[in-house]
Symmetry: C2
Subunit: 307 residues, 2 copies
Protein backbone atom coordinates (compact mmCIF):
# COMPACT_ATOMS: atom_id res chain seq x y z
CA UNK A 1 0.00 0.00 0.00
CA UNK A 2 1.07 3.47 -0.84
CA UNK A 3 0.08 7.09 -0.23
CA UNK A 4 -0.48 7.44 -3.96
CA UNK A 5 -3.06 4.66 -3.80
CA UNK A 6 -4.79 6.42 -0.92
CA UNK A 7 -5.03 9.58 -3.02
CA UNK A 8 -6.32 7.59 -5.98
CA UNK A 9 -8.89 5.88 -3.78
CA UNK A 10 -10.14 9.16 -2.32
CA UNK A 11 -10.44 10.68 -5.79
CA UNK A 12 -12.55 7.73 -6.96
CA UNK A 13 -14.64 7.72 -3.78
CA UNK A 14 -15.36 11.42 -4.21
CA UNK A 15 -16.02 11.33 -7.95
CA UNK A 16 -18.09 8.15 -7.87
CA UNK A 17 -16.56 7.24 -11.24
CA UNK A 18 -13.17 5.76 -12.00
CA UNK A 19 -13.13 7.49 -15.37
CA UNK A 20 -14.03 10.90 -13.95
CA UNK A 21 -11.53 10.50 -11.10
CA UNK A 22 -8.83 9.59 -13.62
CA UNK A 23 -9.54 12.82 -15.48
CA UNK A 24 -9.25 14.84 -12.29
CA UNK A 25 -6.01 13.05 -11.45
CA UNK A 26 -4.67 13.75 -14.93
CA UNK A 27 -4.31 10.11 -15.83
CA UNK A 28 -6.09 7.38 -17.78
CA UNK A 29 -8.82 5.08 -16.50
CA UNK A 30 -7.09 1.67 -16.83
CA UNK A 31 -4.10 2.33 -14.53
CA UNK A 32 -6.48 3.85 -11.99
CA UNK A 33 -8.69 0.75 -12.14
CA UNK A 34 -5.59 -1.37 -11.67
CA UNK A 35 -4.44 0.57 -8.64
CA UNK A 36 -7.88 0.38 -7.05
CA UNK A 37 -7.97 -3.34 -7.69
CA UNK A 38 -4.47 -3.75 -6.22
CA UNK A 39 -5.59 -1.84 -3.14
CA UNK A 40 -8.65 -4.05 -2.75
CA UNK A 41 -6.53 -7.17 -3.14
CA UNK A 42 -4.03 -5.99 -0.54
CA UNK A 43 -6.73 -4.97 1.95
CA UNK A 44 -8.63 -8.17 1.29
CA UNK A 45 -11.97 -6.45 0.87
CA UNK A 46 -13.97 -4.85 -1.91
CA UNK A 47 -14.05 -1.06 -1.58
CA UNK A 48 -16.46 -0.22 -4.40
CA UNK A 49 -19.63 -1.72 -5.84
CA UNK A 50 -19.28 -1.52 -9.60
CA UNK A 51 -22.40 -0.18 -11.30
CA UNK A 52 -22.91 0.45 -15.01
CA UNK A 53 -22.77 4.19 -14.45
CA UNK A 54 -20.05 4.46 -11.87
CA UNK A 55 -18.95 3.00 -8.56
CA UNK A 56 -20.30 3.29 -5.01
CA UNK A 57 -18.49 2.81 -1.73
CA UNK A 58 -19.11 -0.42 0.13
CA UNK A 59 -19.15 -0.47 3.95
CA UNK A 60 -15.45 -1.29 3.94
CA UNK A 61 -14.90 1.50 1.43
CA UNK A 62 -16.68 4.03 3.64
CA UNK A 63 -14.52 3.00 6.58
CA UNK A 64 -11.37 3.15 4.49
CA UNK A 65 -12.31 6.58 3.18
CA UNK A 66 -12.32 7.97 6.72
CA UNK A 67 -9.01 6.26 7.47
CA UNK A 68 -7.38 7.48 4.27
CA UNK A 69 -8.57 11.05 4.76
CA UNK A 70 -7.18 11.11 8.28
CA UNK A 71 -3.85 9.65 7.23
CA UNK A 72 -3.35 12.00 4.31
CA UNK A 73 -4.31 14.98 6.45
CA UNK A 74 -1.76 13.89 9.07
CA UNK A 75 0.82 13.48 6.36
CA UNK A 76 0.14 16.95 4.96
CA UNK A 77 0.32 18.45 8.46
CA UNK A 78 3.66 16.75 8.97
CA UNK A 79 4.93 18.18 5.69
CA UNK A 80 3.84 21.65 6.78
CA UNK A 81 5.60 21.30 10.11
CA UNK A 82 8.78 20.16 8.38
CA UNK A 83 8.52 23.03 5.89
CA UNK A 84 8.19 25.50 8.76
CA UNK A 85 11.23 23.90 10.34
CA UNK A 86 13.20 24.15 7.09
CA UNK A 87 12.20 27.78 6.69
CA UNK A 88 13.42 28.39 10.22
CA UNK A 89 10.03 29.49 11.52
CA UNK A 90 9.73 26.61 13.93
CA UNK A 91 11.81 24.39 16.14
CA UNK A 92 13.95 24.33 19.24
CA UNK A 93 16.71 26.91 19.63
CA UNK A 94 19.16 26.61 22.51
CA UNK A 95 20.98 29.90 23.16
CA UNK A 96 23.74 30.32 25.72
CA UNK A 97 25.34 33.49 26.99
CA UNK A 98 28.04 34.56 29.39
CA UNK A 99 27.10 36.77 32.33
CA UNK A 100 28.95 39.68 30.74
CA UNK A 101 27.11 39.19 27.43
CA UNK A 102 23.84 39.11 29.33
CA UNK A 103 24.80 42.39 31.00
CA UNK A 104 24.64 44.13 27.63
CA UNK A 105 21.10 45.29 26.92
CA UNK A 106 21.43 43.92 23.41
CA UNK A 107 21.20 40.26 24.48
CA UNK A 108 17.82 40.25 26.25
CA UNK A 109 16.45 42.63 23.60
CA UNK A 110 17.38 40.15 20.92
CA UNK A 111 15.78 37.22 22.71
CA UNK A 112 12.60 39.23 23.22
CA UNK A 113 12.53 40.20 19.54
CA UNK A 114 12.94 36.56 18.50
CA UNK A 115 10.11 35.45 20.75
CA UNK A 116 7.68 38.02 19.37
CA UNK A 117 8.74 37.73 15.72
CA UNK A 118 8.95 33.91 15.56
CA UNK A 119 6.48 32.42 18.04
CA UNK A 120 7.07 28.99 16.49
CA UNK A 121 10.67 28.99 17.64
CA UNK A 122 11.02 27.56 21.11
CA UNK A 123 13.89 29.39 22.80
CA UNK A 124 15.84 27.67 25.54
CA UNK A 125 18.37 29.95 27.18
CA UNK A 126 21.20 29.15 29.57
CA UNK A 127 24.15 30.94 31.12
CA UNK A 128 27.71 29.67 31.14
CA UNK A 129 31.32 30.80 30.70
CA UNK A 130 32.80 31.63 27.29
CA UNK A 131 34.83 28.41 26.90
CA UNK A 132 31.89 26.13 27.70
CA UNK A 133 29.62 28.07 25.37
CA UNK A 134 31.87 27.77 22.34
CA UNK A 135 32.45 24.10 23.16
CA UNK A 136 28.68 23.47 23.51
CA UNK A 137 28.03 25.19 20.17
CA UNK A 138 30.68 23.01 18.53
CA UNK A 139 29.10 19.88 20.05
CA UNK A 140 25.57 20.96 18.99
CA UNK A 141 24.36 21.20 22.60
CA UNK A 142 23.76 24.88 21.88
CA UNK A 143 22.67 26.45 18.61
CA UNK A 144 23.99 29.95 19.37
CA UNK A 145 26.07 31.61 22.01
CA UNK A 146 26.55 35.24 23.08
CA UNK A 147 29.93 36.00 24.58
CA UNK A 148 32.55 38.74 24.83
CA UNK A 149 36.14 38.12 23.77
CA UNK A 150 36.45 34.47 22.68
CA UNK A 151 39.32 32.35 24.01
CA UNK A 152 39.24 29.76 21.24
CA UNK A 153 37.40 28.97 18.04
CA UNK A 154 36.49 25.25 17.76
CA UNK A 155 36.34 23.79 14.28
CA UNK A 156 33.06 24.43 12.47
CA UNK A 157 32.08 27.32 14.73
CA UNK A 158 31.63 30.84 13.40
CA UNK A 159 32.40 33.76 15.73
CA UNK A 160 30.91 37.04 14.58
CA UNK A 161 31.49 40.40 16.25
CA UNK A 162 28.11 42.01 16.73
CA UNK A 163 29.01 45.24 18.55
CA UNK A 164 32.42 46.78 19.03
CA UNK A 165 32.96 48.24 22.47
CA UNK A 166 36.03 49.55 24.37
CA UNK A 167 37.09 48.19 27.75
CA UNK A 168 37.08 50.66 30.65
CA UNK A 169 38.89 50.60 33.98
CA UNK A 170 36.70 50.13 37.05
CA UNK A 171 38.14 51.83 40.17
CA UNK A 172 37.02 52.14 43.76
CA UNK A 173 35.72 55.72 44.23
CA UNK A 174 38.66 56.74 46.39
CA UNK A 175 41.37 55.15 44.22
CA UNK A 176 44.26 57.31 43.10
CA UNK A 177 43.66 56.58 39.41
CA UNK A 178 40.07 57.83 39.74
CA UNK A 179 41.41 61.34 39.32
CA UNK A 180 43.11 60.52 35.99
CA UNK A 181 42.21 62.77 33.06
CA UNK A 182 42.41 61.66 29.40
CA UNK A 183 42.36 57.95 29.94
CA UNK A 184 44.34 55.38 31.91
CA UNK A 185 47.64 54.47 30.31
CA UNK A 186 49.07 50.98 30.60
CA UNK A 187 51.95 52.30 32.71
CA UNK A 188 49.40 53.58 35.25
CA UNK A 189 48.57 49.95 36.06
CA UNK A 190 52.12 49.29 37.30
CA UNK A 191 51.90 47.63 40.72
CA UNK A 192 48.08 47.61 40.75
CA UNK A 193 46.07 44.75 42.26
CA UNK A 194 43.77 43.44 39.51
CA UNK A 195 40.58 41.42 39.87
CA UNK A 196 40.31 38.87 37.05
CA UNK A 197 37.95 36.17 35.88
CA UNK A 198 39.28 32.70 36.62
CA UNK A 199 40.46 30.36 33.89
CA UNK A 200 39.43 28.05 32.33
CA UNK A 201 36.40 29.68 30.80
CA UNK A 202 37.65 33.23 31.27
CA UNK A 203 36.85 35.67 28.48
CA UNK A 204 39.77 36.69 26.29
CA UNK A 205 39.55 40.26 27.62
CA UNK A 206 41.73 39.33 30.64
CA UNK A 207 44.16 37.25 28.62
CA UNK A 208 44.57 40.22 26.26
CA UNK A 209 45.07 42.63 29.17
CA UNK A 210 47.70 40.44 30.81
CA UNK A 211 49.44 39.97 27.45
CA UNK A 212 49.59 43.74 26.95
CA UNK A 213 51.06 44.23 30.43
CA UNK A 214 53.66 41.53 29.88
CA UNK A 215 54.55 43.01 26.50
CA UNK A 216 55.02 46.50 27.98
CA UNK A 217 56.72 44.99 31.08
CA UNK A 218 54.12 46.44 33.40
CA UNK A 219 54.00 44.43 36.66
CA UNK A 220 50.55 43.80 38.10
CA UNK A 221 49.35 41.56 40.93
CA UNK A 222 46.17 39.51 41.04
CA UNK A 223 44.00 40.57 43.96
CA UNK A 224 41.25 38.00 43.27
CA UNK A 225 39.97 35.54 40.67
CA UNK A 226 36.22 35.16 40.26
CA UNK A 227 33.89 33.21 37.97
CA UNK A 228 31.73 35.97 36.55
CA UNK A 229 32.54 39.45 35.40
CA UNK A 230 29.74 40.90 37.48
CA UNK A 231 31.45 39.61 40.64
CA UNK A 232 34.52 41.62 39.59
CA UNK A 233 32.58 44.81 40.04
CA UNK A 234 31.22 43.75 43.40
CA UNK A 235 34.79 43.31 44.62
CA UNK A 236 35.89 46.62 43.05
CA UNK A 237 33.05 48.30 44.91
CA UNK A 238 34.31 46.63 48.10
CA UNK A 239 37.77 48.12 47.47
CA UNK A 240 39.57 44.80 46.91
CA UNK A 241 41.28 46.06 43.78
CA UNK A 242 40.71 47.46 40.30
CA UNK A 243 39.43 45.74 37.18
CA UNK A 244 38.72 46.14 33.50
CA UNK A 245 35.22 45.58 32.06
CA UNK A 246 33.30 46.32 28.84
CA UNK A 247 32.06 49.91 28.64
CA UNK A 248 28.43 48.81 28.70
CA UNK A 249 28.81 47.55 32.27
CA UNK A 250 29.32 51.08 33.60
CA UNK A 251 25.87 51.06 35.15
CA UNK A 252 26.93 48.80 38.06
CA UNK A 253 27.57 50.32 41.54
CA UNK A 254 27.45 53.94 40.35
CA UNK A 255 28.12 55.32 43.87
CA UNK A 256 31.02 53.00 44.78
CA UNK A 257 32.79 52.65 41.43
CA UNK A 258 34.37 55.17 39.09
CA UNK A 259 34.81 54.11 35.45
CA UNK A 260 37.69 55.59 33.45
CA UNK A 261 38.49 55.02 29.76
CA UNK A 262 41.82 53.60 28.71
CA UNK A 263 44.31 55.89 26.98
CA UNK A 264 43.88 55.94 23.16
CA UNK A 265 47.08 54.00 22.54
CA UNK A 266 45.85 51.06 24.68
CA UNK A 267 43.85 48.87 22.29
CA UNK A 268 41.71 46.65 24.50
CA UNK A 269 38.33 45.94 23.01
CA UNK A 270 35.44 44.01 24.61
CA UNK A 271 33.18 43.23 21.67
CA UNK A 272 29.89 41.37 21.92
CA UNK A 273 30.34 38.16 19.90
CA UNK A 274 27.85 35.65 18.48
CA UNK A 275 28.88 32.02 18.05
CA UNK A 276 27.08 29.45 15.89
CA UNK A 277 27.86 26.35 13.90
CA UNK A 278 28.76 27.01 10.30
CA UNK A 279 26.71 23.94 9.23
CA UNK A 280 23.49 25.58 10.53
CA UNK A 281 22.86 27.55 7.36
CA UNK A 282 19.14 26.75 7.36
CA UNK A 283 16.48 26.33 10.03
CA UNK A 284 15.83 28.29 13.20
CA UNK A 285 19.53 28.95 13.86
CA UNK A 286 19.94 30.70 10.52
CA UNK A 287 16.77 32.70 11.18
CA UNK A 288 18.07 33.73 14.58
CA UNK A 289 21.52 34.66 13.28
CA UNK A 290 19.94 36.80 10.57
CA UNK A 291 17.72 38.52 13.14
CA UNK A 292 20.67 39.16 15.48
CA UNK A 293 22.71 40.63 12.61
CA UNK A 294 19.89 42.97 11.67
CA UNK A 295 19.43 44.16 15.25
CA UNK A 296 23.18 44.59 15.72
CA UNK A 297 23.42 46.69 12.56
CA UNK A 298 20.57 48.90 13.83
CA UNK A 299 22.28 49.19 17.22
CA UNK A 300 25.57 50.11 15.51
CA UNK A 301 23.85 52.89 13.54
CA UNK A 302 22.25 54.20 16.73
CA UNK A 303 25.64 54.30 18.53
CA UNK A 304 27.22 56.02 15.54
CA UNK A 305 24.45 58.62 15.57
CA UNK A 306 25.06 59.31 19.28
CA UNK A 307 28.82 59.78 18.81
Amino acid sequence: MDLRQLRYFLAVAEAGHITRAAEQLGMQQPPLSQQIKALETELGCVLFQRHPKGVRLTDAGTMFQAEAQRLLADFAAMQERMAALAEGKRGLLAVGFTSSAAAHAFTPETLRACRSRYPGIQLVVSENNAADITEAVAASRLHCGFLRVPVSRPHGVVLETLLQEPAVVALPRDHALARTRGGVALADLQGQALILVRRPGAPGLYANLLALCAQQQVQVSVAAEVDRMMTNLNLVAAGVGISVVPASMRGAHPHAIVYRPLAPEVVLDAPLTLAWRQADSTGPTATFVALVRKLAAAQGRRQAACA
Copy 2:
Protein backbone atom coordinates in the same frame (compact mmCIF):
# COMPACT_ATOMS: atom_id res chain seq x y z
CA MET B 1 7.79 11.87 -0.34
CA ASP B 2 6.86 8.31 0.23
CA LEU B 3 6.22 5.85 3.06
CA ARG B 4 9.14 3.81 1.76
CA GLN B 5 11.40 6.82 2.25
CA LEU B 6 10.12 7.22 5.81
CA ARG B 7 11.00 3.60 6.52
CA TYR B 8 14.44 4.06 4.98
CA PHE B 9 14.99 7.21 7.02
CA LEU B 10 14.02 5.50 10.28
CA ALA B 11 16.32 2.58 9.54
CA VAL B 12 19.24 4.94 8.96
CA ALA B 13 18.39 7.04 12.02
CA GLU B 14 18.29 3.93 14.17
CA ALA B 15 21.42 2.28 12.74
CA GLY B 16 23.48 5.47 12.64
CA HIS B 17 25.07 4.18 9.43
CA ILE B 18 23.70 4.22 5.91
CA THR B 19 25.66 1.07 5.07
CA ARG B 20 24.43 -0.83 8.14
CA ALA B 21 20.85 0.32 7.58
CA ALA B 22 21.06 -0.81 3.96
CA GLU B 23 22.08 -4.27 5.15
CA GLN B 24 19.14 -4.42 7.54
CA LEU B 25 16.83 -3.28 4.77
CA GLY B 26 18.23 -5.91 2.45
CA MET B 27 19.50 -3.42 -0.09
CA GLN B 28 22.72 -1.73 -1.14
CA GLN B 29 24.15 1.49 0.28
CA PRO B 30 24.07 3.74 -2.83
CA PRO B 31 20.30 3.59 -3.48
CA LEU B 32 19.70 4.18 0.22
CA SER B 33 22.02 7.21 0.16
CA GLN B 34 20.11 8.47 -2.88
CA GLN B 35 16.73 8.08 -1.22
CA ILE B 36 17.94 9.86 1.92
CA LYS B 37 19.32 12.66 -0.23
CA ALA B 38 16.06 12.90 -2.19
CA LEU B 39 14.17 13.12 1.10
CA GLU B 40 16.45 15.90 2.36
CA THR B 41 16.06 17.78 -0.91
CA GLU B 42 12.27 17.51 -0.79
CA LEU B 43 12.07 18.56 2.87
CA GLY B 44 14.55 21.35 2.28
CA CYS B 45 16.66 20.50 5.28
CA VAL B 46 19.59 18.26 6.12
CA LEU B 47 18.53 15.30 8.26
CA PHE B 48 21.93 13.77 8.99
CA GLN B 49 25.40 15.05 9.75
CA ARG B 50 27.81 12.89 7.76
CA HIS B 51 30.77 11.69 9.78
CA PRO B 52 33.62 9.47 8.64
CA LYS B 53 32.22 6.57 10.71
CA GLY B 54 28.51 6.99 10.19
CA VAL B 55 25.78 9.60 10.31
CA ARG B 56 24.09 11.46 13.17
CA LEU B 57 20.67 13.07 13.27
CA THR B 58 20.53 16.84 12.99
CA ASP B 59 17.88 18.81 14.89
CA ALA B 60 15.61 18.61 11.86
CA GLY B 61 16.33 14.88 11.63
CA THR B 62 15.37 14.32 15.25
CA MET B 63 12.11 16.14 14.68
CA PHE B 64 11.45 14.23 11.49
CA GLN B 65 12.17 10.94 13.24
CA ALA B 66 9.35 11.57 15.70
CA GLU B 67 7.02 12.58 12.87
CA ALA B 68 7.91 9.56 10.75
CA GLN B 69 7.51 7.13 13.63
CA ARG B 70 4.09 8.53 14.45
CA LEU B 71 2.95 8.43 10.82
CA LEU B 72 4.12 4.87 10.20
CA ALA B 73 2.55 3.70 13.46
CA ASP B 74 -0.74 5.33 12.42
CA PHE B 75 -0.45 3.69 9.05
CA ALA B 76 0.13 0.26 10.57
CA ALA B 77 -2.79 0.73 12.95
CA MET B 78 -4.99 1.60 9.99
CA GLN B 79 -3.87 -1.53 8.20
CA GLU B 80 -4.71 -3.61 11.25
CA ARG B 81 -8.16 -2.05 11.50
CA MET B 82 -8.81 -2.73 7.83
CA ALA B 83 -7.57 -6.30 8.19
CA ALA B 84 -9.95 -6.83 11.12
CA LEU B 85 -12.72 -5.42 8.95
CA ALA B 86 -11.80 -7.73 6.06
CA GLU B 87 -11.69 -10.72 8.39
CA GLY B 88 -15.16 -9.74 9.60
CA LYS B 89 -14.07 -9.19 13.19
CA ARG B 90 -14.89 -5.50 13.15
CA GLY B 91 -17.32 -3.05 11.66
CA LEU B 92 -20.93 -1.98 11.69
CA LEU B 93 -23.64 -4.59 11.23
CA ALA B 94 -27.26 -3.48 10.81
CA VAL B 95 -29.69 -6.32 11.51
CA GLY B 96 -33.45 -6.07 11.06
CA PHE B 97 -36.14 -8.46 12.20
CA THR B 98 -39.89 -8.80 12.04
CA SER B 99 -41.86 -8.99 15.29
CA SER B 100 -42.62 -12.65 14.63
CA ALA B 101 -38.96 -13.44 14.01
CA ALA B 102 -38.08 -11.63 17.23
CA ALA B 103 -40.67 -13.79 19.03
CA HIS B 104 -38.57 -16.87 18.33
CA ALA B 105 -35.96 -17.33 21.04
CA PHE B 106 -33.37 -18.00 18.34
CA THR B 107 -33.15 -14.37 17.22
CA PRO B 108 -32.15 -12.68 20.50
CA GLU B 109 -29.91 -15.66 21.32
CA THR B 110 -28.07 -15.14 18.07
CA LEU B 111 -27.59 -11.43 18.63
CA ARG B 112 -26.28 -12.10 22.12
CA ALA B 113 -23.86 -14.72 20.81
CA CYS B 114 -22.57 -12.29 18.17
CA ARG B 115 -21.99 -9.56 20.74
CA SER B 116 -20.00 -11.83 23.04
CA ARG B 117 -18.07 -13.65 20.32
CA TYR B 118 -17.23 -10.60 18.18
CA PRO B 119 -16.98 -7.55 20.42
CA GLY B 120 -15.47 -5.60 17.51
CA ILE B 121 -18.70 -5.87 15.53
CA GLN B 122 -21.03 -3.01 16.32
CA LEU B 123 -24.58 -4.40 16.07
CA VAL B 124 -27.43 -2.06 15.22
CA VAL B 125 -30.81 -3.76 15.41
CA SER B 126 -34.20 -2.57 14.22
CA GLU B 127 -37.67 -3.99 13.82
CA ASN B 128 -39.79 -3.76 10.68
CA ASN B 129 -42.13 -5.78 8.49
CA ALA B 130 -40.93 -8.52 6.14
CA ALA B 131 -41.26 -6.52 2.91
CA ASP B 132 -39.33 -3.51 4.24
CA ILE B 133 -36.60 -5.75 5.63
CA THR B 134 -35.91 -7.54 2.36
CA GLU B 135 -36.00 -4.20 0.54
CA ALA B 136 -33.61 -2.61 3.04
CA VAL B 137 -31.21 -5.55 2.70
CA ALA B 138 -31.32 -5.17 -1.10
CA ALA B 139 -30.62 -1.44 -0.78
CA SER B 140 -27.74 -2.02 1.71
CA ARG B 141 -29.52 -0.14 4.49
CA LEU B 142 -29.49 -3.44 6.40
CA HIS B 143 -26.82 -6.13 6.30
CA CYS B 144 -29.03 -8.97 7.51
CA GLY B 145 -32.70 -9.54 8.22
CA PHE B 146 -34.59 -12.16 10.23
CA LEU B 147 -38.10 -12.86 8.98
CA ARG B 148 -40.64 -15.62 8.64
CA VAL B 149 -42.15 -16.50 5.26
CA PRO B 150 -40.74 -14.07 2.70
CA VAL B 151 -43.10 -12.30 0.29
CA SER B 152 -40.51 -11.49 -2.35
CA ARG B 153 -36.83 -11.98 -3.07
CA PRO B 154 -35.17 -8.81 -4.44
CA HIS B 155 -32.29 -9.30 -6.82
CA GLY B 156 -28.97 -9.97 -5.12
CA VAL B 157 -30.56 -10.99 -1.83
CA VAL B 158 -30.13 -14.49 -0.44
CA LEU B 159 -32.96 -15.95 1.66
CA GLU B 160 -31.91 -18.92 3.75
CA THR B 161 -34.23 -21.03 5.89
CA LEU B 162 -32.70 -21.33 9.32
CA LEU B 163 -35.32 -23.32 11.20
CA GLN B 164 -38.28 -25.19 9.80
CA GLU B 165 -41.41 -24.86 11.88
CA PRO B 166 -45.09 -25.73 11.30
CA ALA B 167 -47.87 -23.22 11.59
CA VAL B 168 -50.46 -23.84 14.30
CA VAL B 169 -54.03 -22.61 14.70
CA ALA B 170 -54.62 -20.20 17.56
CA LEU B 171 -58.16 -20.44 18.98
CA PRO B 172 -60.01 -18.69 21.79
CA ARG B 173 -60.23 -21.14 24.73
CA ASP B 174 -63.99 -21.66 24.29
CA HIS B 175 -63.90 -22.03 20.49
CA ALA B 176 -65.55 -25.11 18.97
CA LEU B 177 -62.35 -26.17 17.14
CA ALA B 178 -60.45 -26.18 20.44
CA ARG B 179 -61.81 -29.66 21.05
CA THR B 180 -60.43 -31.03 17.76
CA ARG B 181 -58.27 -34.09 18.02
CA GLY B 182 -55.57 -35.02 15.44
CA GLY B 183 -55.09 -31.60 13.88
CA VAL B 184 -57.27 -28.97 12.26
CA ALA B 185 -58.19 -29.79 8.65
CA LEU B 186 -58.55 -27.05 6.04
CA ALA B 187 -62.26 -27.81 5.79
CA ASP B 188 -62.63 -27.01 9.48
CA LEU B 189 -61.84 -23.39 8.68
CA GLN B 190 -64.97 -23.08 6.49
CA GLY B 191 -66.85 -19.95 7.54
CA GLN B 192 -64.32 -19.02 10.25
CA ALA B 193 -63.38 -15.39 10.99
CA LEU B 194 -59.60 -15.08 10.53
CA ILE B 195 -57.28 -12.43 11.92
CA LEU B 196 -54.54 -11.62 9.41
CA VAL B 197 -51.53 -9.35 9.14
CA ARG B 198 -52.16 -6.41 6.85
CA ARG B 199 -50.48 -6.06 3.50
CA PRO B 200 -48.14 -4.64 2.28
CA GLY B 201 -45.41 -6.05 4.44
CA ALA B 202 -47.35 -9.09 5.56
CA PRO B 203 -45.42 -12.34 5.92
CA GLY B 204 -46.08 -14.95 3.26
CA LEU B 205 -47.68 -17.21 5.86
CA TYR B 206 -51.05 -15.48 5.38
CA ALA B 207 -50.78 -15.31 1.61
CA ASN B 208 -50.05 -19.05 1.63
CA LEU B 209 -52.99 -19.76 3.95
CA LEU B 210 -55.43 -17.76 1.83
CA ALA B 211 -54.11 -19.43 -1.33
CA LEU B 212 -54.68 -22.86 0.20
CA CYS B 213 -58.24 -21.91 1.18
CA ALA B 214 -58.99 -20.54 -2.29
CA GLN B 215 -57.55 -23.66 -3.87
CA GLN B 216 -59.69 -25.95 -1.71
CA GLN B 217 -62.68 -23.60 -2.07
CA VAL B 218 -62.89 -23.03 1.66
CA GLN B 219 -64.67 -19.75 2.40
CA VAL B 220 -63.23 -17.67 5.23
CA SER B 221 -63.94 -14.14 6.41
CA VAL B 222 -61.44 -11.59 7.66
CA ALA B 223 -62.29 -10.54 11.21
CA ALA B 224 -59.38 -8.05 11.50
CA GLU B 225 -56.15 -6.97 9.83
CA VAL B 226 -53.26 -5.94 12.08
CA ASP B 227 -49.62 -4.88 11.60
CA ARG B 228 -47.78 -7.37 13.76
CA MET B 229 -48.30 -11.05 14.33
CA MET B 230 -48.23 -10.56 18.08
CA THR B 231 -51.31 -8.36 17.82
CA ASN B 232 -53.08 -11.29 16.14
CA LEU B 233 -52.78 -13.27 19.32
CA ASN B 234 -54.00 -10.41 21.47
CA LEU B 235 -57.18 -10.30 19.35
CA VAL B 236 -57.54 -14.10 19.43
CA ALA B 237 -57.29 -13.94 23.22
CA ALA B 238 -60.03 -11.29 23.13
CA GLY B 239 -62.25 -13.67 21.15
CA VAL B 240 -62.31 -11.58 17.96
CA GLY B 241 -61.55 -14.60 15.78
CA ILE B 242 -59.02 -17.32 15.09
CA SER B 243 -55.56 -17.09 13.52
CA VAL B 244 -52.57 -19.07 12.34
CA VAL B 245 -49.10 -18.46 13.78
CA PRO B 246 -45.70 -20.20 13.87
CA ALA B 247 -45.54 -23.01 16.43
CA SER B 248 -42.89 -21.20 18.47
CA MET B 249 -45.42 -18.46 19.38
CA ARG B 250 -47.46 -20.89 21.48
CA GLY B 251 -46.23 -19.28 24.65
CA ALA B 252 -48.50 -16.20 24.28
CA HIS B 253 -51.72 -15.93 26.36
CA PRO B 254 -51.57 -19.54 27.67
CA HIS B 255 -54.82 -19.10 29.66
CA ALA B 256 -56.90 -17.46 26.94
CA ILE B 257 -55.65 -19.21 23.80
CA VAL B 258 -55.64 -22.86 22.76
CA TYR B 259 -53.10 -23.86 20.05
CA ARG B 260 -53.94 -26.78 17.78
CA PRO B 261 -51.74 -28.31 15.05
CA LEU B 262 -52.93 -28.41 11.47
CA ALA B 263 -53.87 -31.78 9.97
CA PRO B 264 -50.89 -33.62 8.36
CA GLU B 265 -52.19 -33.03 4.85
CA VAL B 266 -52.21 -29.23 5.32
CA VAL B 267 -48.69 -28.07 4.41
CA LEU B 268 -48.32 -24.62 5.94
CA ASP B 269 -44.85 -23.95 7.21
CA ALA B 270 -43.62 -20.86 9.08
CA PRO B 271 -39.83 -21.11 8.82
CA LEU B 272 -37.39 -18.64 10.35
CA THR B 273 -35.54 -17.06 7.41
CA LEU B 274 -32.31 -15.09 7.21
CA ALA B 275 -31.85 -12.50 4.45
CA TRP B 276 -28.51 -11.00 3.34
CA ARG B 277 -26.93 -9.61 0.24
CA GLN B 278 -25.14 -12.16 -1.88
CA ALA B 279 -22.32 -9.65 -2.50
CA ASP B 280 -21.45 -9.61 1.23
CA SER B 281 -19.25 -12.69 1.06
CA THR B 282 -16.59 -11.13 3.28
CA GLY B 283 -16.58 -8.84 6.29
CA PRO B 284 -18.84 -8.73 9.33
CA THR B 285 -21.93 -9.81 7.38
CA ALA B 286 -20.27 -13.05 6.29
CA THR B 287 -19.06 -13.62 9.86
CA PHE B 288 -22.57 -13.10 11.16
CA VAL B 289 -24.19 -15.34 8.55
CA ALA B 290 -21.71 -18.11 9.37
CA LEU B 291 -22.44 -17.72 13.08
CA VAL B 292 -26.21 -17.80 12.50
CA ARG B 293 -25.90 -20.92 10.37
CA LYS B 294 -23.88 -22.68 13.05
CA LEU B 295 -26.37 -21.79 15.77
CA ALA B 296 -29.32 -22.80 13.57
CA ALA B 297 -27.73 -26.18 12.87
CA ALA B 298 -27.22 -26.71 16.60
CA GLN B 299 -30.82 -25.68 17.28
CA GLY B 300 -32.04 -28.05 14.55
CA ARG B 301 -30.14 -30.95 16.14
CA ARG B 302 -31.62 -30.09 19.55
CA GLN B 303 -35.15 -30.06 18.09
CA ALA B 304 -34.50 -33.36 16.32
CA ALA B 305 -33.28 -34.85 19.59
CA CYS B 306 -36.47 -33.70 21.38
CA ALA B 307 -38.74 -35.23 18.72
